[in-house]
Subunit: 445 residues, 2 copies
């Protein structure tokens, strides 16, 4: 009944047979639409109503599509895509000390990071990830790639004792990282966090400095923690306490901490991190591939922890597909709990979206399809015989994850993937650049 | 130097940048080719040599391709593709007794099996599987589908106590199954095996009859065994021994037995099945999804067992992609052993090919690219950003499994998939048929 003049303006109206808002939980809304204005979600509702109410600049109807919030990959070393497959099936220490670290020392420079991160961005965008946390050398280059591609990133700038390819030592890590924070202060796409590598590679004085600064300027702290049994045993041997206990003593167990991996936890440690509001980043494929263990997500969630999902780097995965990470998170939760109703499809979809947004402290802006949030959306389409028939929408998305492709991806209302094609990355140039870097890697293997 | 007249004839010459023969083990041969004559592999060698030696009727060069033997899916209930997603995230007993069994009783008939199995064949072929074991009602319909699509199948015809949709009781199961064996005697595509559902659903008299007949007419015996802890606890409570021990007493632990699942095994049971030459069929995704447990493949293999891989039915998986099953088998072996060098990429590729062929007693004909074997081949092509760069061919195929598509598939030298398209299945009719069956399923949910 409404004519165009009486309709509200919006930049984009997206509609699909199914919409999974994530909040409210465990809901699959049929034939729904999202109206987007100035990069924000202006309305969510039945497609017929929004069509009647809005006069959009652009109208996208995704046949067979499932609309979800943009996925948040809460732990990655993006540029390591260039080392994908460079150390298959090696024992952990040989993988790290004899293969990965020497390759990084020989190869990693600004170009390596620029090209590797662009490849990662291409892979993440085309599989539905709109925001990622990165922890790697040359984070200023990663920031440039994020801005150029339109992705959101949390840069957990690396802090180590000793020199590395990016900084001469821990002081320069702080100096460069804080400069980066100054450069991007107030930017909605680039967020900076402290990235102490692990409690065993950063001395106590630096950890205390991170605590002080993170509270003063309100930044997140992203750390590898209790990734495997060997490092926890070493902590006990050296310090008479675990790394979780040590961080508790320092005061770093707090709601700014993003504790990544966490495969080795006692019941007391689970309660301790939960009581202190620590965010958990679960990286299921990496933890399996490196034989590290399985993060006890069901227990952590029951204790009150927020859980996010990460892919880790491509050298220990080998893909950066967060939907597949969610599937594996579901499967592992089931076998770990011994209950087939554990790790249900909605819970892991929430980890892959709102859980990641919470870990980054951005749950007021990202992670669900709700009015007022930033318009980061994905339209997944089920493809191939393995996606038929569609009997359960959320179940199909998670348990049939390999069959779902991100056909359209929007960040802040801008289409970064349109009909399966990247809009902000020159893929032919990327292929050439990757092959050039791959020759360097092959030469160093 | 050779002209056409001096060249040898062959029907098909396939060449690719990489060939993984599986036997010999752990080898990736660059720029190799396979010559095929009368459905058999006539030669394997460097592409330049075979081009010089052979004058093929058809010559296929697969750019970027990785040639492997056709995959063998050693455990499936193919028609259950139509129940994909019909019971997501339910506790095991509710899934089986309140959801799957009532749906099957209400829906399964010849059409359901014909359409569901055709969908499964489409899914399996396009993901590189050329041979599958099926254990489902109306196996005579499954045989028809296999013949029509050109796939190879082992029909483990179902044997249960009590009536089901296919047979009025255990006697009719034997009668119909043995008739099927008579119908396909000597057929190279259809093999028949006994399919006792499980030791807890088939009485001792019938198990003894299966032993006697299987030895008399030399057929395999395919059974669900030690799938989860509850069934083993029940055996101990009812019989004072486990099902493995019970089958040992009957004499069924022998090289004809294909023991599927096997997630719950004592050290003694591992040695017992190994000493008796039992084949193990590992179904990693299904065992995770139903929270059953993890088959101890590394220990079983070390004890001398042959390991094959299966997808199980799509209602507990949800896909029938054997390469992804191999990836998960590798990941689980690593975390289970606590060693990142366990479950290496070649070992799980061998499980997915030669291990399956051995379980079916067909290792002299199938499972590797060797002269004299039947020409069941797959050309996988790495696709998308997640497949770049290619630094390790076998590692890429397994650890990057979701990125690999079966571009061409040959069975007995016939192309069943050509450039990604099925040659023996009318996919438009299949889509219509599947949607019609899906309506029946939705109506019964």
């Amino acid at each position: 009944m409404s004519d165009r003049s009486s309709k509200r303006a919006c930049d984009l109206l997206v509609e699909a047979p199914w919409l999974l808002p994530v909040a409210p939980q465990n809901v699959a809304l049929p034939d729904h639409a999202v109206a987007i204005l100035n990069g924000r979600i202006a309305a969510v509702g039945p497609a017929s109503e929004l069509r009647a109410d809005y006069a959009p600049q652009e109208h996208v109807r995704v046949d067979d599509g499932i609309l979800t919030p943009g996925l948040v990959n809460a732990h990655c070393h993006a540029a390591m895509t260039l080392l994908r497959g460079a150390g298959e099936d090696l024992p952990l220490q040989a993988w790290l000390q004899d293969r990965i670290w020497p390759l990084e020392a020989a190869l990693v420079d600004e170009d390596f990071v620029r090209i590797g991160t662009t490849l990662a961005a291409a892979e993440m965008l085309t599989s539905g990830t709109t925001t990622f946390t990165d922890m790697y050398f040359f984070p200023e280059i990663v920031a440039e790639v994020a801005c150029r591609t339109g992705m959101r990133v949390q840069l957990a700038f690396p802090i180590f004792n000793g020199a590395n390819v990016w900084a001469s030592g821990v002081d320069e890590c702080f100096h460069k990282g804080l400069a980066l924070h100054d450069d991007y202060r107030g930017d909605s796409h680039v967020l900076v966090a402290f990235g102490p590598h692990a409690p065993y590679t950063v001395d106590q004085k630096s950890l205390e400095k991170i605590l002080m600064l993170s509270q003063e300027i309100n930044l997140g702290v992203h750390i590898h923690l209790h990734e495997n049994a060997a490092e926890v045993a070493e902590a006990r041997a050296q310090h008479g306490q675990t790394w979780v206990e040590r961080l508790a003593d320092i005061g770093l167990l707090n709601p700014q901490l993003q504790a990544t991996h966490m495969t080795q936890l006692t019941r007391q440690e689970i309660d301790l991190v939960a009581a202190n509001g620590v965010h958990i980043v679960h990286c299921p494929h990496s933890n399996l591939k490196l034989a590290s263990g399985i993060c006890p997500t069901t227990e952590l969630a029951a204790a009150g922890c927020n859980i996010a999902l990460g892919t880790d780097g491509a050298s220990s995965n080998n893909t950066l597909n967060l939907l597949q990470e969610a599937r594996t998170a579901s499967l592992l939760a089931k076998v770990q709990a011994g209950r087939a109703d554990a790790g249900n499809a909605h819970d892991v979809l929430a980890m892959a979206t709102l859980g990641g947004a919470r870990a980054l402290g951005r749950e007021d802006e990202l992670g669900s399809i709700e009015v007022g949030k930033r318009a980061d959306l994905v339209a997944f389409t089920p493809t191939g015989f393995a996606a038929q028939p569609l009997l359960d929408v959320i179940g199909s998305l998670i348990h049939g994850a390999p069959t779902h492709q991100a056909r359209h991806v929007w960040v802040e209302g801008h289409a970064l993937v349109r009909d399966g094609s990247l809009t902000t990355i020159d893929t032919q140039k990327l292929h050439r650049d990757v092959e050039q870097q791959a020759q360097r890697v092959r030469g160093a293997l």
